[in-house]
Structure formats: structure tokens, C-alpha cells
Amino acid sequence: MAEARKSMIKFKPKKFKVGDVIKVDFIVIHPMETGTRKDKKTGKIKPAKYIDSITFSLDGKPFTSMKVWETVSTNPYFSVNMKVPGKGKITVDYTDNTGEKNSKSKKLKPKG
């Protein structure tokens, strides 16, 4: 079984209340290979492999989505804002151009 791709969801600030607008950062280890670079040893073009689609959901309901191309940096970083409606679970689902699908979740725990 393949190891799950490493990724992280971060809330900024870490402590927040219902109604606060926080930053939601998502960072993932991914080569974002453009398909235009040559392998120096073999001389062959490295095939394109890049994240092409991302969806942020709260308790299963999407609230932000992205289309991404190979021109985004390796190990990409994405940052958006969100107004905290209450307790819940944030899920980031992402796919790449080869069809690889991944998902990362983090509990949203507002204080007070």
C-alpha cells in the first residue's frame, strides 16, 4: 500500500472564536513536475505530474475550490481566509493530472 502523501492544514491564528476570520493554509509535498524538464542521467523528459484540482470543504460542503497548473511551485502552498461558523471538520481533497487522489482533514475547534 502506498504511503499517504504528506500534507498539512494550518489555521492562523491557532486560537479563534466563532465568527472570527482565520487563515487556512494548506501545504503538500508534491513534485509539481512540469513535463518540460529532462532527467540529466537518462536524457528523457520527466513526465508531467502536478496537482490540478483542490477543494476545501467544511463538514462535506465545499466552500473554496482551485484549479492548479504545473506552473505552481514544487511542494505547493495555498492560503485562503474563512469565517468560522462553528465547530466542524475542514477537509482538503486534491487530485493530480495522473489521477492520483488525496485528502487531508483537520478539526475546526473554536473556543467560546
Partner: protein
């Protein structure tokens, strides 16, 4: 501990990636055909030929000089009430000289509360980064900024 190791692995991996030159991304080297669009074609594909207004409401932050063309931070903040009646529907990040002019599109909703998006992109050489913004009323705004990119270790 796990978080610290994760951040360490990102720094190491990104440092390795940073050495690789993104110059192969220049328009002349781009793979032909398929979904790859140059800047003007990408704007038409997004706007359908609609008018685009340069606007101060779109605050685009990029470095004046990119130390590393493989990792250029881009931050966009659009002044908007982000209500159901008036919000930023999408932000399209484009570049003027990369073979593929498109970098990322973000589709926002009022729950985002702010017309904000940040990411890091590759620049094949000195060029403009453009934020093309679609509002909920169907209108388009734009902001563009030049970024100087020095490529290659030998200068």
C-alpha cells in the same frame, strides 16, 4: 515532533527543487498543443472577450526581484464585502511570459469572508504576474506587477 519533522522535510525538498532552473518553462520551450495557453489566449478563455478594468481594489503583492524563479510568492487581496450579493467569484493568477500563462484559479464563496489568496509560483524569467479577478456581477478587474528573475547560479 511530527510537525517539526514535516516542516524540515518541506524545507529540504523545496531547497532541492529550487536548484532546478525553471527556464524550460519559457514560451518557446512549451509543449505544443493541448491545454497550454499563452497570456492573451488565456485572458480571452477566462473573460470570453469581456472588458477588463485595471483596479486599485485588487492588491497584488509579489517581490520586485525574485531570488529564485522556482518559488515566487504571490499574494492577492481584493477589496470586497464578500456577501451573497457582492463577492469575489474567482481570482486567476497569470504570467505574461511563461509557456503556460496560467498558474492557479481560485473560486471563492462568501464563507471565505475576504477576497484573499496566496500561493507560490514558478517564473521562467523576468515578466509580469497578473491577477485577473471575476466578481459575482460578472465583471472583471485586473492588477499586474513586474518581477525581475535572475536565473542560473552563474548569473
Amino acid at each position: 515532533m511530527e510537525r517539526r519533522n514535516f516542516i524540515k522535510s518541506i524545507c529540504a525538498a523545496t531547497a532541492v527543487a529550487a536548484v532546478a532552473s525553471p527556464s524550460a518553462l519559457l514560451a518557446k520551450d512549451a509543449p505544443k498543443g493541448g491545454n497550454v495557453l499563452t497570456y492573451d489566449a488565456a485572458v480571452v478563455a477566462i473573460t470570453g472577450g469581456k472588458a477588463v478594468t485595471d483596479s486599485d481594489k485588487v492588491k497584488l503583492t509579489v517581490p520586485e526581484i525574485a531570488e529564485n524563479g522556482a518559488v515566487v510568492p504571490v499574494k492577492i487581496n481584493v477589496e470586497s464585502p464578500m456577501t451573497d450579493a457582492d463577492y469575489v467569484k474567482a481570482i486567476h493568477i497569470l504570467t505574461t511570459k511563461n509557456g503556460n500563462a496560467r498558474s492557479a484559479d481560485i473560486m471563492l464563496t462568501p464563507m471565505n469572508a475576504k477576497g484573499y489568496f496566496a500561493t507560490r509560483i514558478k517564473l521562467a524569467g523576468t515578466q509580469d504576474v497578473v491577477a485577473l479577478v471575476e466578481l459575482s456581477d460578472g465583471s472583471f478587474l485586473r492588477a499586474a506587477k513586474p518581477v525581475k528573475v535572475t536565473i542560473g547560479g552563474c548569473g
